[in-house]
């Protein structure tokens, strides 16, 4: 499978590890990604505020490019970009005049034929493959002891007529991926609540309030880590976490969905970019290792006991 790939601006900046892990995972799963040549910013959090037409035109340019470069599907791993791109697809398809107006503005032909894929759709589709690979791995999978809270945020599920690949209130796609990785999806409450998104810089106080609530709920529901599929959310939950007064609570690691899959597939840690996180992920992995060892020991004990019993039986007879 080969997809056109729209990185979006933050993939080359604040969320490098997202792209690194994505490329690693894609390679491992034989998904070809061809970066759209000369792609430009989708206008994410600002364009639509200023001007609806601009909010459609900026992402549309990239769709037009993809079209011209012969793509039928484009992967937008950044949730904001995904939302903007498929928003443009929807607007051009549904809104009177748009189909005609947009090519005029772009001064490019645009037939609106490209389908926009979110990272969750992609990985959910690949879940069976992932599951297979994970099962095939010999060494005990430490992820079996990992409880993950799948955090969707806004942009992957709303508005439903634009996203709509999953239930808007209780989406399940990410949980499928988590299970495929042999980790345990946590049932919690903040999966589709907003983290403060675009106010990260301009109104940090709000972001701290909102993201804090998300992290607290994840912890209360027994999550070891939060799973994100959006650079913006990740920044707010990971990078801003330091600024939250967590009352001595241990910090909550925030993983990209691709990083989790990478771990499950046993890809080299170095290729997944955990070192770029602000919340240190080492304690988590240490914890998982310990759990794995414990489990292994217990298993060994059971085996031994069994053997002993068998032996005794043999002796008796």
């Amino acid at each position: 499978m080969t997809l056109a790939y729209y990185p979006g601006c933050s993939m080359h900046g604040t969320s490098r590890e997202y792209e690194e892990s994505l490329l690693a995972v894609a390679a491992a799963l034989d998904v070809g990604l061809t970066e759209i040549d000369d792609w430009s910013c989708c206008g994410a959090s600002s364009a639509h505020v200023a001007d609806h037409l601009l909010g459609v035109a900026l992402p549309a340019r990239n769709l037009a490019l993809a079209e011209a470069q012969g793509a039928d599907r484009v992967l937008a791993p950044c949730a904001a970009c995904y939302n903007r791109l498929s928003g443009a697809v929807h607007a051009v398809a549904e809104e009177p005049g748009m189909a005609a107006r947009v090519p005029e503005v772009l001064e490019r032909p645009f037939a609106n034929t490209v389908r926009v894929l979110s990272i969750v759709e992609l990985l959910q589709g690949l879940a069976p493959v992932i599951e297979e690979r994970v099962a095939a791995r010999l060494e005990p999978n430490p992820l079996e002891h990992l409880n993950v809270a799948a955090y969707w945020g806004c942009l992957l599920v709303r508005p439903a007529e634009i996203t709509g690949f999953d239930d808007a209130e209780r989406p399940t796609g990410m949980d499928d991926v988590i299970s495929a990785c042999a980790a345990n999806p946590v049932r919690w409450n903040m999966a589709v609540e907003c983290c403060g998104g675009a106010f990260s810089v301009s109104r940090t106080s709000s972001v701290l309030r909102l993201s804090r609530a998300i992290i607290d709920d994840a912890r209360r529901c027994g999550a070891d880590a939060i799973l994100a599929a959006c650079p913006l959310c990740h920044a707010n939950l990971d990078f801003r976490q330091g600024a939250m007064s967590l009352r001595g609570e241990p910090p909550m690691p925030v993983l990209y969905i691709t990083q989790l899959v990478g771990l499950a597939l046993g890809l080299p840690m170095s290729s997944l970019g955990f070192e770029r996180h602000f919340v240190d992920t080492q304690p988590l992995f240490a914890h998982l290792a310990r759990e794995a060892d414990k489990a292994a020991a217990a298993a060994a004990e059971r085996a031994a006991a069994k053997a002993a019993k068998a032996a005794a039986k043999a002796g008796a007879s």
Binding site: D167, A168, E169, R170, N189, R220
Partner: protein, 674 residues
């Protein structure tokens, strides 16, 4: 040769002012086939009618045309008059020269000319009128009532007390319906079962009521006065005659973990069960879906996996091999009282409804709906009437009630108002506060709709006396938060977000028609709206009748209804039925369609377009009496006389009495050269 009398009315000045009635009379007098033509000041007055009668007798008239007001005004009057003079009323027609002429034109010349034309057309029509006889249909004076809730019981009792037999069909093991589940009722807070149970027993013991429980209507044939109804008696596995309702079988039944329908899933029941102690009849039903024995049989086990109930039953009333049986009942009228269900807003939505993921119903055990609360509050309920929440049986100290869940919500639910929720929520807060005086009852509402006798006072009492906290605003999210249930709401009156840490949440979910209502409606050929509620014949003037003559509606199958309304409707249907049964024959207007079987080609276009299903297929036999084809036959009892079948008949084999092609063409031709 027809001898027609034409009578022109001045209607005082109303017609004469603009129409020269004399001129009309003169013009018509010379018209072929007209024997007498005369004008008079008030034709509808007694002397006027006398004048017509006399003319009929003196001139042996074969037809009468009264040029006056609209037929909707006085057609009956003049037809009656003619009948008194021994003339068949259906050869009397009216030419409307008032509403359609004198009142809308001021040019005397034109108006008069038009009046003459109009009179002539009607005269030409009347030449082709045939004497008709009023249709008389025999009436089977027995009624069928579908649904054994309070509406059905009331209707059955009223009809039976009126002296006629009633067949009462209930799909559940017992009659009583939703009312039997309720704790107390608004606005009086009297115990629901205390007022219902006697009625149930009365219906059961009534000599003229034949009760079929655990039964459903399979098929309905016939028409008003002459319905033939097939009833499916679902296999009960318990012999109703032998069983004495001792309950040993239930006590013995090993599979005891089945969610109780009666307790809305809050308690467990056995596989063989009577839904509740006061059930009528007090005869258990074996739920074959959950019964170990039948599970085994479905799996194809060689020997039965269980049989405890049969072993315990001293009367030997248990029968594992009984199948569904069918009985046919002949009735003259049908009352539909199938009632309602609550909108199950869980995540799984069969009919393409969206449900409410944000409210956690189905996932959070302490988020329940109105009927579940009724069971919690009921003395006969799973907690014996003590306030205990489902999850851990603790007494909830803060209960949140959310109104309009699924109602007034075109996006995710129903666009209509479910009507009863405002009142029962007020009732719930009272019941709760009476049981837990130190508890908080918080209500999120959009409007308080308490129109009804003593209703507003009641809901105000909940707030003013019992201290229910009403907050105006919808709820955005409900989710589990430790052992609490978090409720995110908004108070639009004090403009602040309100977050409540509740112990229990009660959702006032929308009232919907019973599942399977559409199938039933099709069997009855009764129409229903986009929400599935059955349609009344006229929203104001015929609220309990349907477009199918002889079928009536009572209670919540027609729209969300509370108990008083349901009972009132039931009474109304009973009145209609008793009216229909007041004579053993039913008189109908004879202007119905009639098929000429000689020319009918059997294409059955008529059958396709007939809105009343009045067209039947009749066999045509050859000399040897073998069926060699089919022709259409119009059932005069069902036909309402719209004439659609006439217009679509390719071989012109259907005629509509009173509006035959001959008559209409005669009218058209009469207009030639005016």
């Amino acid at each position: 040769m027809s001898r027609i009398g034409v009578f022109i009315c001045h209607c005082g000045e109303n017609i004469a002012r603009t129409v020269d009635c004399g001129a009309v009379a003169d013009a018509l007098r010379d018209h072929p086939g007209v024997t007498v033509a005369t004008d008079y000041k008030y034709m509808c007055s007694d002397p006027g009618q006398q004048l017509i009668k006399k003319a009929i007798e003196d001139n042996a008239l074969t037809g009468v045309v009264v040029c006056a007001c609209s037929p909707h005004m006085h057609e009956k009057t003049f037809r009656r008059a003619a009948a008194q003079a021994g003339l068949n009323p259906f050869v009397v027609e009216m030419a409307n020269i008032r509403e359609h002429c004198s009142w809308i034109h001021d040019d005397r010349e034109q108006a008069t000319a038009k009046a003459i034309d109009t009179a002539r057309t009607i005269v030409e029509k009347v030449k082709h009128n045939r004497p008709l006889q009023t249709i008389r249909i025999p009436v089977t004076r027995r009624a069928l009532v579908i649904g054994g809730g309070i509406a059905g019981i009331q209707a059955a009792l009223d009809i039976a007390d009126g002296g006629h037999e009633v067949v009462l069909v209930e799909k559940d093991p017992s009659i009583g319906g939703h009312m039997s589940q309720l704790s107390e009722t608004f606005p009086t807070l009297d115990c629901s079962q205390c007022i219902l149970t006697p009625r149930m027993v009365e219906a059961y013991q009534h000599p003229r009521i034949k009760l079929y429980t655990w039964s459903e209507v399979e098929k309905v044939d016939g028409y008003i006065g002459n319905f033939s109804v097939t009833i499916r008696k679902k296999a009960r596995s318990v012999d109703e005659d032998l069983c004495n309702g001792c309950g040993d079988c239930q006590a013995a039944c090993p599979s005891r973990r089945i969610a109780s329908e009666f307790d809305a899933g809050l308690s467990r029941r056995t596989a063989i069960y009577t839904p509740f102690p006061q059930a009528v009849p007090n005869i258990p039903v074996l739920d074959r879906e959950h019964c170990t024995l039948f599970k085994g049989r479905r799996k194809g086990l060689a020997k039965d996996a269980c049989g405890t109930c049969k072993e315990t039953c001293l009367k030997g009333a248990i029968d594992y091999d009984g199948e569904d049986t069918f009985v046919t009942e002949e009735v003259g009228a049908i009352v539909v009282a199938t009632g309602f269900q609550l909108y199950d807003i869980g995540r799984e939505q069969p009919e393409g409804l969206k449900g409410y993921g944000e409210y956690g119903y189905g996932d959070v055990p302490d988020v329940i709906d109105g009927l579940q609360f009724e069971r919690l509050a009921s003395a006969s309920g799973p907690a014996g009437g003590k306030m205990r929440r489902p999850s851990d049986g603790a007494e909830p100290k803060t209960v949140v009630f959310v109104k309009c869940v699924g109602s007034r919500d075109p996006e995710k639910g129903m666009s209509y108002c479910s009507k009863i929720c405002c009142m029962y929520t007020a009732k719930h807060t009272m019941l709760y506060k009476h049981k837990v005086p130190d508890g908080r009852a918080v209500v999120f509402y959009m409007d308080i709709r308490a129109a009804g006798k003593g209703y507003d006072e009641f809901s105000r009492r909940a707030i003013e006396e019992d201290g229910a906290e009403y907050i105006r605003g919808r709820v955005s999210r409900i989710f589990r938060d430790g052992d609490k249930v978090k409720v995110w709401g908004y108070d639009t009156l004090s403009n602040r977000q309100v977050v409540v840490d509740a112990d229990m949440v009660v959702l006032a979910t929308a009232v919907r028609p019973q599942p399977g209502i559409a199938e039933l409606a099709q069997k009855l050929s009764v129409s229903y709206d986009q929400d599935g509620f059955l349609n009344e014949a006229h929203p104001k003037l015929r609220p309990v009748e349907t477009n199918t003559a002889g079928i009536y509606l009572a209670g919540a199958c027609q729209a969300p209804r509370d108990i008083p309304e349901s009972v009132a409707m039931a009474g109304a249907t009973a009145a209609k039925v008793l009216g229909l049964f007041s004579a053993d024959e039913l008189e109908r207007d004879p202007s119905v369609a009639l098929v000429n079987e000689r020319t009918c080609s059997g294409c059955f276009n008529c059958e396709r377009v007939c809105p009343y299903g009045a067209i039947e297929r009749r066999d045509v036999c050859d000399m040897e009496g073998h069926v060699c084809g089919h022709v259409a036959y119009v059932n005069p009892g069902v036909c309402q006389g719209c004439g659609t079948c006439v217009a679509v008949c390719p071989s012109k084999s259907v005629e509509l009495a009173g509006f035959t092609d001959d008559q209409v063409y005669a009218e058209i031709n009469a207009l030639a050269g005016w």
